[in-house]
Symmetry: C2
Subunit: 423 residues, 2 copies
Amino acid sequence: MADLIIKGGIVLTMDGAVIDNASVVVDKGLIKYAGKVPKEKADKVIDAPGCAVMPGLINAHTHVPMTLFRGYADGLSYAEWIKKIQMVETKLTPSDVRAGAYLGVLEMIRSGTTTFVDMYIHEDEVARVVDETGIRAALGYGMIEGLNEDAETKLKSREKFVKKWNGAADGRITTMYAPHSTASCSKEFLIKVKELAARDNSRVHIHVLETEDELKTMKKRYGMCSINLLNSIGMLGPGLLAAHCIWLSDDDIDILKNKEVNVVHCPSSNMALGAGVSPVPKMLGKGINIALGTDGAASSGSLDMWKEMRYASLLHRLKDPAAMKSSKVLEMATKNGAQAMGINAGVLKQGYLADIIIVDIKKPQFASSDIVSSLVSGTTGYDVKTSIVNGKVLMEDRRVAIFNENKIIENAREAMIRITEKN
Amino acid sequence: MADLIIKGGIVLTMDGAVIDNASVVVDKGLIKYAGKVPKEKADKVIDAPGCAVMPGLINAHTHVPMTLFRGYADGLSYAEWIKKIQMVETKLTPSDVRAGAYLGVLEMIRSGTTTFVDMYIHEDEVARVVDETGIRAALGYGMIEGLNEDAETKLKSREKFVKKWNGAADGRITTMYAPHSTASCSKEFLIKVKELAARDNSRVHIHVLETEDELKTMKKRYGMCSINLLNSIGMLGPGLLAAHCIWLSDDDIDILKNKEVNVVHCPSSNMALGAGVSPVPKMLGKGINIALGTDGAASSGSLDMWKEMRYASLLHRLKDPAAMKSSKVLEMATKNGAQAMGINAGVLKQGYLADIIIVDIKKPQFASSDIVSSLVSGTTGYDVKTSIVNGKVLMEDRRVAIFNENKIIENAREAMIRITEKN
């Protein structure tokens, strides 16, 4: 007797197969079977005819509490935007971060994201929200050297964060070390981070070459770009998540490939802030693992990964319509994210984590010659009927039972108004 | 006693005002009042607290039956795409066009589009679908010179179309002459179209400089671009809808401005086909009226104008984050479209057409410091609760009562499979 069977849907395993009228069997938080209907019984059965059944989406780079600043600095360049945002960030209390994280997690669960990779301040609050809500996350307590505390105190507190939360919430929480960038953390500081990460067997999450300013600063300071600096101190490897990666040379791309670094592409944020266009098709051509992230809602406006997929698709097709296959974009939002995190997810396959979504495709925009293409071009978060994490149903038929949604929105609005007024 | 009152929402008049807890009163298909709650009674009352009440969206350039080809030629360049599409278009019967138009109109009503501007073949079928469904449209029976019939026969049949349908369906249908482009119709043919349009007091809808190929063809054939050719024959004016307008010189932009031509921007299609980036911020800066369109779903993948707004916003912010104010993008999708069509719509104001949508903003992505910004970045078609055209409720609380939705989708799928197989 398994825990759950999802029956009769079109199963996209993200492992090469699209199987009509198939089942996914879940037991003890893991996938037991995905394929043509097996002879299996379960405590709970979800009927999914007219639905796509697929791995939950993985938002591989975000700052979830920044939902509080959504719309606040709309229409500004990166330099102006970050200045305005950092000013309001100084006002944030742990309870604000909690309110913002709840709002963001609610939006993610409702739009089919089952896992996110976060980097922010007061990250213990984000961890508590993950614990309470049932979503999965890899959390990094952000570090900007010299901000608020000395380097030693900062590193100590981050060690404590990793120790406290890694593996918590039935394994749904993993942790990363999260130095903000090579421009905001010194080489010496980054070396210490690297050593801690190696000792704790922890991944590292960092912004890399998001802006041309960063590139200029690095060239001036070190005579080399961020990739080369990270390489020189041995920080590049399959345990690194490099967000953005816009201002890359061809040599940088080769280094990322050789070191098996994971890149996280954030098209909407990059477009909204005029940061630039990451050479994603070129990196995909080299076989670099590229995941997808919404970045914070303060720049992207939305945590809906379906929108992000379409932005990724359109942004690169602008230069080459054949650059981004829809199937590749869907992989970026699922299994590539899991690979970047180092977890067995993003694929519906025996033994993998039972993080699953059910998308209602009985709607006009899914009447199409190509299911994968129409999923990428036509789906929005609202088409996701059901979201399952670790085998547990967090949303069913659009009802998120465990939350008081109105209260979450109200708390966030209150924090938002207080923080952003008089700025 | 009015016909309808929508009470208690946040009313965006699109005429400069955002009014909290306000009402919109509708009578005899027109807006009677929009503002703070008046002492008025009505046959029907819709309560809209926690909702935005605003003009319905206007999709100012589409080929609605092309929903049948959604996903069919995904990931191809314009040149390869048009070849593949034209091949399947030869197979289309009037009944296929009807099936595709029904599918597209359903998608539009469900996503808050109350009016569309169309150009396609077998356009009488589209007109019938508009008549039957209650949506509003400006319809053009497309003309490619030399295709299927001689010029005289073609023009005669288009005159007949205009005569038959202009003002039909209680005025919900207006018509336009719709020569495909300056590359596919000769100068002489276009002059005839111009004369017919002048005689019939009809607008003209045409593709202009969508591709660099068109620019090259025109330079070679006439020694001038499409804008200059249209100018030389007196076709530029406030009655012209010029779709795309990508490959423009600064002089072309000045001409469009001086002649008061309406431009229709179609960002997702332009990105998907790698057609190029229309200089929209520059044209807006000159004061040119720019509306927004999804183009056909065969290139854009979706007829959701909310997505299109966000694409318009992000595409141009990539070069200049301050280029596209969210309020401007919302205007492009509403009142600018109405201006392009020459109808009194797109604004909630006394005497204007009662084409209204109600957007449910009691959702996490609308908890924001800026309602207009979060509408543009956060809304999807599924947030639209209620759509009203000509004072008549076509969708209420997401229920589209007058259609058999499953039947529409099934008919379209059947046509789709038959047409696209073995190509």
